[in-house]
Symmetry: C2
Amino acid sequence: MTKQVTLRDVAREAGVHISTASRALNPETRSMVNEDTVDRVLAMADRLGYRPHPLAQGLRKNRTMSVGMVIPDIENPLFGPLIAGAEQVLGGEGYSLLITNTDINEGQTSEVVRALVERRVDGMILATASRSDDVIVDLIESGIHMVLVNRSTEGVPVPAILGDDLTGIGLAVDHLSSLGHERIGHVAGPQHLSTGLGRHQAFLTRMQSLGLAVDPSAVEESTWYQVDPGYKAAQILLERRPDLTAIVAANDLIALGCYRAVRESGREVGTDVSITGYNDIPLLDLMQPPMTSVRVPYRQMGVEAANTLLPMMTSGSSLDRPVSIRLTPTLSIRESTAPPRS
Amino acid sequence: MTKQVTLRDVAREAGVHISTASRALNPETRSMVNEDTVDRVLAMADRLGYRPHPLAQGLRKNRTMSVGMVIPDIENPLFGPLIAGAEQVLGGEGYSLLITNTDINEGQTSEVVRALVERRVDGMILATASRSDDVIVDLIESGIHMVLVNRSTEGVPVPAILGDDLTGIGLAVDHLSSLGHERIGHVAGPQHLSTGLGRHQAFLTRMQSLGLAVDPSAVEESTWYQVDPGYKAAQILLERRPDLTAIVAANDLIALGCYRAVRESGREVGTDVSITGYNDIPLLDLMQPPMTSVRVPYRQMGVEAANTLLPMMTSGSSLDRPVSIRLTPTLSIRESTAPPRS
DNA sequence: ACCGTGCATGCAATCGTTTGTAGCAGATCG
DNA sequence: CGATCTGCTACAAACGATTGCATGCACGGT
């Protein structure tokens, strides 16, 4: 461990006072210092390989240059691009990302968040928001700068970067409708999450505007965004409504559960029953049949979240009404959707 | 932003000197302080909701309680469990994980690592090691505590937590052999990575010990651990050796590339040509056909990495010859492997 | 009465920066 | 020529904690 080069060392070697060295090094205050002196200090700092100590800096300036990111389930492939996008932007601005995973355990969120607050992160990106979320309310009171991604909470003044589920589900329903489907069902996500509810409502809305039947019996809720719960919900749905020719699933994993349920009912995905997923996670093109899915630009979502958070952390104001962004999804059409067998 | 409660406040309210409060709060030094005083301080700290300022603490104790983790490609599902495992253990000990992603760009690694070093992380977990890796050599000189995961570097005294590729590939080859396959090929991973080389050698070794032919023509290297490069390598391999009845792929994505190449050659995966993957990433059981793959306990790998790193960071010694751990894989048998069509 | 002993606490330096203020030149002006 | 200004630099006080050392006190033994 080579000895640390401190500002003191630079100042001593350059023959100036430590405070002068500090000002010379900082572009903001550099103008207060004589040019020659600046050059001397800069040269010496470079020669010694001086790096400011982030802890000392943070202590003095009351900023840690780190932001916390809370992920509900890091094993879900959806979050990779989200993290990568945020990290790219924040890293470029000198921030580090503290990533924490709550392992789906929603109760754990408050502990994890508290740990981040104690670390004095300058801001937070939350991907764990539920529609009514105490943790977020607490966080608002504590005045921490934060941005929600992917999911939102109702009635709180916090910016959120979301996918446009209305459009996304619309794309899926329109696609199925244009293929000739009329009896379309929906396996919904958890209704306590904004995505679950939003996609559900979007489904109803779009069906209605197309003049298609929207009997409540055509919708079943999956308890979680995973394959097994999706499978169980699809089983129930298919038993109740064997006449359905297509299913819009609230996410890809649920859709994969639907695949299984359809097969078990003795039918084929695509030819007998069309299925659409949501998120377009990797490898869907390699499933059998390749899955039609709504593609959400998650990497961009991470980027936008970071770009929204940055000015909040530096200007500190953030009071000018929070701006929420909805990213437009597209449809990746593959072979899990086809005209209904007439 | 409610005003910060500092040690000063606690001390003042408890009617003791700040240093006494400090000692009372710290279990290590608590014995120096009168029991009654300890109680008073603790009660007051609790009442005020005092939390030590990590930056101040870190500055003084020269520790940041943070660990850097460098991931080559965070979108690869393999790293989710790895991160989750490490975070679980480190978080429990009060450390935060700073995760950075090099986006496969190997050149970016040194910048990313330098950023972590400047942040004064207490230790690092590297998942980006190549067989000959300058970054790691530099890091050793700087005396940073670190652990390699998944991949290793040759001839450096750094602990590494790896999968046992010899056993893993052995399981795959044995399985194929026991099904009756004799003409088995290998689509290798990049040979500049320890995993690529290791699995390649393991393949040759196991084939030989089973008395099976190991002509170099039965091996083709994929330039990277992804579907497309795997597909291209498999194409070449199958064209050169159309007689192969089975392929051992160096990882799952490469194996999926093999799926495609096999199909394009007009044959069926499983029935005509058996394929094994490596890592057993999620959703493989839903591929068509479901893929036989070697399962590596990545979550445990993250846990072990953290457990190895922790004592290094606290005792600081770490000179007692680095211990490397190899985790034993298992085989998930599915339908991409079957007896050869005779 | 004196001194050593030991416990509990206070004092002050320190970690590496940043930043408000004071000081000290030389230049400018009335 | 003295007063004011300007441009640069140095001083010192923070930020919030930890920790070696000194101090104060009560107590027991002689």
